[in-house]
């Protein structure tokens, strides 16, 4: 049987970049084919070509044995190819049924839409593929995982059987990832073929039948999980040996730097999100805060950095009471902050790299003389830091928006780590980054610890918490369930605590 889909010598050039270089890829019926590569390796470009959003400069696309030309997404869907984007294309105030029928309002009774008929088909498909979705629910009320199932439903509803999932796990909690994998397996069992785009090694090892690795727009190789290892895949992706485990000397904790005492924080709707949290972080140690996203970590970090008022309790940094301090005062006490949403909170995307590098120091000497910014110093410092932190940018005058995610994060790291800091508050510092950048950021954080900086690391990624932390606190529903030394923490123990289960001994 011929492969259900074949890409033959696909080449796509953008000005100055060869995004795809003679890529060859086959997808068999009922196969999960993982496309692995760092950000910027050309995965998304390739899939956009397949989905009719870009046109290849060279090469052929062969679907079910026939060469085809895909000019628009609707053409792709007609050929049975559907795509779930990383960012969902759903209308929150519409119901699941309305979202599914959107753009395909073919079922009508007279001039009215036949919602009931569509809902019935959705129930059929749900039952058939094990996708639990209530057709009458409003999308805004659904969890992220459920919204993703709606996206998949939209595709199945249009009778597509080749599914492209673009970084589908990036927005999911570990539990939701498990559910997604179940759905994927049941889809495949019913003959659907799947291209699974990811840069996460473990996931790819767990779910894929075959793995194709892309680097710099070229296929590096195709392999099977049984024939490879995470380390070997990382080497293929990055093109060099990657250290997946962080090498760190034993901690030598010093004085208490951050002292949090009975902290209570409310969210924007005045609901308690942090309820009576107390902990200390000492110089030279990393305290990891684990927990499923949405258990108060965001509000905790915002409260500590002065971005959100503290309802009750006390925060002390190096002996200064910062409970009511402004963000600027807290920064001036030697606190560095790597925010969880770097594009929203960390950078001004429409500013050049140089300006972003002085975003919180522009008013201090040597960058300012009185109220005049000394551009020469700003540029010289930017040039120096771009080199020191290996920020890949055409120039210090390039807008931050034009950098890759990893390099954007490096700009933030370069900005924060070159100030005299004694406390680092890092919130999901490697979210959405590729292996090479993760390795880099982790090394830098461990370096700061070695220099005697206190580090508070907040992350829903257990691997990250386990490999970096000296002590691990688990947050659940705004409270700290328990704090363990890293030596006693196992994924199982932490997993139970993250689910709110208290274990003794």
């Amino acid at each position: 049987m011929p492969p259900i889909l074949e890409l033959d010598g696909i080449t796509k050039r953008f000005p100055g970049v060869l995004a795809n270089d003679h890529i060859h890829l086959t997808l068999e019926q009922g196969e999960i084919h993982a496309l692995l590569g760092e950000n910027g390796a050309g995965k998304t470009t390739l899939m956009n070509i397949l989905y009719g959003l870009y046109h290849p400069d060279e090469g052929r696309i062969i679907v079910r044995g026939k060469p085809v030309k895909i000019d628009t997404p609707s053409e792709a869907i007609r050929l049975g190819i559907g795509m779930v984007h990383q960012h969902f294309m759903l209308i929150p105030v519409f119901t699941v049924t309305e979202n599914v029928m959107l753009g395909e309002e073919t079922l009508t009774r007279g001039i009215f839409l036949d919602r009931a008929a569509v809902a019935a088909r959705i129930r059929d498909i749900s039952a058939q593929y094990g996708l639990q979705v209530d057709p009458d629910a409003y999308v805004k009320d659904l969890s992220v995982g459920a919204q993703q199932r709606v996206e998949i439903l939209k595709i199945l509803y249009r009778r597509a059987d080749i599914l492209i999932l673009d970084e589908p796990t990036a927005v999911l909690t570990p539990q939701e990832v498990e559910e997604l994998f179940k759905v994927i397996r049941s889809l495949v069992a019913r003959g659907v073929s799947i291209i699974f785009i990811s840069h996460k090694l473990k996931e790819v090892m767990a779910i894929a039948d075959r793995i194709t690795v892309l680097r710099d727009g070229r296929v590096v190789g195709t392999t099977r999980p049984a024939e490879t290892s995470p380390a070997a895949l990382a080497r293929m992706m990055v093109g060099r040996e990657v250290i997946l485990t962080v090498d760190k000397p034993p901690a030598r904790p010093g004085d208490v730097v951050l002292d949090v005492n009975d902290l209570h924080v409310l969210d924007d709707r005045q609901q308690p999100r942090v309820s009576g949290v107390s902990f200390q972080v000492r110089a030279g140690e990393i305290l990891g805060i684990a927990g499923v996203q949405g258990n108060g970590q965001t509000e905790l970090v915002e409260a500590l950095t002065g971005l959100r008022p503290i309802a009750q309790g006390r925060v002390t940094i190096l002996g200064h009471d910062t409970t009511r301090a402004t963000p600027r005062h807290i920064l001036q006490h030697g606190v560095a902050h790597i925010p969880e949403d770097r594009q929203r909170d960390g950078l001004v995307l429409t500013f050049p790299v140089a300006d972003n590098l002085v975003l919180n120091t522009y008013y201090l000497p040597p960058f300012a003389r009185g109220i005049q910014i000394d551009e020469r110093t700003v540029f010289a410092s930017a040039t120096q830091r771009v080199q020191q932190f290996d920020i890949r940018t055409p120039s210090i005058h390039t807008l931050a928006a034009n950098l890759s995610g990893g390099n954007q994060q490096k700009v933030i790291v370069a900005r924060e780590f070159t100030r005299p800091i004694q406390l680092l508050i890092a919130s999901q510092p490697t979210r959405g980054l590729d292996v090479g950048s993760i390795e880099y950021i982790h090394q830098r954080i461990v370096e700061m610890r070695a220099q005697g900086c206190a580090v508070l690391l907040v992350s829903p990624e257990l691997d990250e918490i386990l490999s970096l932390s000296d002590r691990i606190a688990v947050m659940y529903r705004g409270k700290i369930m328990d704090t363990l030394p890293a030596s006693q923490a196992t994924p199982e123990k932490l997993g139970l605590l993250m689910a709110g289960v208290h274990t003794e001994g």
Partner: protein
């Protein structure tokens, strides 16, 4: 990776110059479209067209003549009458008499007189844009500034020019800063949207001036019911730089100087850095320790001060008194003008020259070619529409998209 030292931060200027292609093409398209209205309002053309089938040559001639008359008089309104200019120049060369010369160059000089308030008000709105604020209240701030300048201008006497004129100008600016600062303060502390507040403050300002001119500031013994203030003392004048009747005054030069100052402030000072950060991404600005509330108040107050300078300039340089309706909507036009100028001081100066020129030329279009002044308003409206919907112009002329400035300008409504 290479960091070229030669790669200077030219984008700031390129940003301003790059948007030039767009206004130019917008203007061209607007003139083409306006032709339809000019022709449609011309009785001769309409009659000729009705008989067009029997006599196409005549119809075509009528169309051509109508357009030539209209745009010809626009040209004369803007640059002056070429024949008259050459005659007066040769007469000047022969006799050394400047009297005729000033009359010939009067129309051209008027462009700059009209452009002056546009520059101030355009800078005001542009500075607001840079902080993500939409100052709809420039018109009201112009009136408040004019009232304050007029008061200081006529009530202080015996001061030397070097003291009185700057003091008068400053009084106007401070009044505008206070006026717009109210909206900034409400936004910063209560989250009240500045669009609503500046708009409402306009009405307060108009009616305040109306009250003042019919009460405390009314010219003593003014002829009947005319609401007009006393004339300001001569020591508060912005001096005219050419002999009568040319009205070109020092305000234009002040406006250019202020434009340079605003550019320096926005792009070279720490305060401007803060304002632009807040405008471009308030979340990141806040995380970096920048006070959003403080910058909202500061940017709004500065914006109001700039707008008020337009009013003070008119009082000190042109009218020498305060009268109701002295501004034909400079403040409202300046919103579109600031957009046309891409929110950049250089762009604003160029756009202000365009607006001043159009408004000035329009007057002649009306008197020479008997075209209603509304048609000129239509031309302006088309220019603005094409600028506001750049995608039309880009499609039409296959320009490449320039994303940067758009991002800033459209943030204004985000609140």
């Amino acid at each position: 990776m290479q960091i070229a030292d030669t790669d200077r931060p030219m984008w700031r200027w390129q940003g301003a110059l790059g948007v030039l292609a767009l206004p130019a093409l917008s203007l061209f398209s607007a003139l083409v479209l306006s032709s339809i209205f000019i022709l449609g309002s011309d009785v001769v053309v309409l009659t000729a067209l009705r008989n067009g089938l029997s006599d196409p040559g005549r119809a075509l001639f009528a169309v051509g003549k109508a357009l030539a008359d209209a745009y010809g008089s626009l040209f004369i309104g803007i640059f002056g009458d070429p024949a008259r200019i050459s005659k007066e120049v040769s007469e000047f060369l022969a006799t050394g008499d400047t009297q005729g010369l000033t009359v010939a160059f009067y129309p051209f000089a008027e462009n700059f007189v009209t452009a002056t308030p546009y520059i101030f008000a355009g800078l005001a709105v542009a500075l607001g844009f840079q902080c993500g604020l939409f100052n709809i209240g420039a018109e009201g701030q112009i009136y408040v500034g004019a009232a304050a300048a007029a008061f200081v201008g006529y009530s202080l006497e015996g001061l030397p020019w070097i003291v009185h004129a700057p003091l008068t100008f400053l009084a106007g600016a401070l009044a505008g800063a206070f006026w717009a600062g109210i909206a900034g303060f409400l936004k910063a502390t209560r989250g009240a949207h500045e669009v609503i507040n500046t708009m409402m403050l306009n009405y307060v300002a108009f009616n305040l001036v109306h009250y003042l001119l019919n009460g405390p500031m009314k010219r003593g013994g003014a002829s009947g019911a005319i609401p007009i203030s006393r004339n300001i003392v001569e020591s508060a004048y912005l001096p005219t730089l050419f002999p009568e009747p040319i009205r070109f005054h020092a305000g234009f030069l002040v406006a250019l100087l202020v434009a340079v100052l605003v550019w320096w402030f926005l792009f070279k000072s720490t305060l401007g850095f803060e304002i632009r950060s807040v405008g471009a991404n308030p979340h990141a600005a806040r995380c970096a320790g920048i006070s959003i509330a403080r910058n909202f108040v500061l940017a709004m107050a500065l914006s109001g001060a700039l707008a008020a300078m337009a009013g003070a300039g008119e009082v000190m340089g042109v009218n020498h008194n305060l009268a109701e309706g002295f501004s034909p909507g400079y403040g409202f036009d300046s919103i579109a003008l600031a957009m046309l100028g891409g929110g950049h001081p250089l762009g604003v100066v160029l756009a202000a020259l365009l607006f001043g020129t159009l408004r000035n030329g329009a007057t002649k279009m009306q008197s020479l070619a008997a075209i209603p002044i509304d048609i000129v308003a239509i031309v302006q409206a088309f220019v603005i529409m094409f600028v506001a919907a750049p995608i039309i112009i880009r499609r039409l002329y296959r320009l490449k998209a320039e994303v940067r400035w758009q991002a800033i300008l459209t943030r204004g409504w985000g609140g």
